[in-house]
Subunit: 297 residues, 2 copies
Amino acid sequence: MIVNIGSVGLDTTRTPFKTVEDVMGGSGTYSGLASSYFSETGLVGIVGEDYPQEYLKILGDRMDLRGLIIGKGKTFRFDSSFGYDMGKRKTNKTELNVFGKWEPKVPEEYRDAEYLYLGNVGPKQQLRVIDQMEEPKLTVADTIEYWIENQKDALIEVISRVSGMVLNDEELRQLCETSNIITGARTIMDWGATFVIIKKGEHGAVLFTRDRIFPTCGYPLEEIKDPTGAGDAFAGGLMGHIARTGKTDFKTMKEAIIYGNIMGSFAIQRFGTDRLLTLTMEEIEGRYNKYKEMVTF
Amino acid sequence: MIVNIGSVGLDTTRTPFKTVEDVMGGSGTYSGLASSYFSETGLVGIVGEDYPQEYLKILGDRMDLRGLIIGKGKTFRFDSSFGYDMGKRKTNKTELNVFGKWEPKVPEEYRDAEYLYLGNVGPKQQLRVIDQMEEPKLTVADTIEYWIENQKDALIEVISRVSGMVLNDEELRQLCETSNIITGARTIMDWGATFVIIKKGEHGAVLFTRDRIFPTCGYPLEEIKDPTGAGDAFAGGLMGHIARTGKTDFKTMKEAIIYGNIMGSFAIQRFGTDRLLTLTMEEIEGRYNKYKEMVTF
């Protein structure tokens, strides 16, 4: 089982072509949906009393929700906009609500899970989750700029206790105070992680271990509807493939990065989680094989 | 033979770590030096009376210089700066000098060459060169923002008469008025080119034909001394590999893009043309093989 912790919320996303309000969102939602295609996934998160029953049913059809609690108050909400080029996101409003003071609790039944993914929650919350787990075979954590700025020490402690970190290139540069991603990746490994994965959006992702580098390019897409959740879906594909194979050797890790790219590419082809709810393994494997054929020379 | 037309000048490059003044530079210099490792290369260009004899000797050791004329006046000069992250270049001063009014003339002996590379000169100058050539097997052109802004019609005529275009992603977006590079590449092919190569700097390059896409990532480098000439060296590696194999099938084109990435990566590891003057084929093939092993999964 993959224990997947992250935000579960309601997103409002505005693009020049379409706006959606209060749709299913949050890092845990995207990564959990993506990994659920590959392996049993337990979602650890919190929603408010206003979180639609209908959404709970949809999530419950794909994931184990024993770790998802309904707190007193309103659900986490995130409102953001994209311009014509679907490039940089502009945050309009973030309402933490019940997510703000949440103290994550891992259900007893999840504690012996082999795979732990710590999505975007605060480093202190991530540490709390690590403490509750018995001894996962592989733990991977993500973070965002906010935590780099506000809880850097706790974040470095997280890095010292995980197998791998997943970061985007800007976050890496900021966290490690370097413009070069190879230098930055080495710093993260000096802090204790065994591997580092740098997400570069449309430009793909790079896997670093102490002695190897695996650079990949993104899956080329002509139509991008909504970039929300791409990085979380990437992490879900990554964790999912590792969990279903049960292996963590370099070959498996390389394949897992490609599944990450593939799941990220599906996520952005439709608004919100739409595409991640209707995929089949055949479509996923089909795109993986197409990607492999495309990049081979 | 590859006929290689481009600027030949003197560069002043300022970085926070080092500044070099009046070193060998220009698009034709970089692309010609890069292609000269693979195939006989004839340089068509102009320098002024102040161009150092010593530089002529260095260029002459690697290229056929019958197409390089010495004009009355001063050599083209380019002065630019990079910041700590070696990202965006800032142009301090451009002096066109003899390059400004140059009317390129292809020597008789070059006119039946099979391969023609039209580096960064104006589209009208590129057309003039195309007119002088008999019937090259493959013609590839590059351009820059300045010509997109000032001679777009002539540039589109160039595109209608070449086999392929090499552009960076920003130039493509600007020229084709789209944020999506796939859409942009299709527009270029609608204008007449058979293939389009989009250079994305450290993120690699993508080859487009009507029915295929070959995305590649850049060769990861920890130390970047001077990004000047990376795109021109890329084009040189590309043309060089095509010319040495004598083939233009998709497999050869894919390999050629990788040689482009490899030559670009060498260019930026030292200041100016330093690294491109001291390479061996063994080093080039070694890095190609290392790249191939690195990206295979």
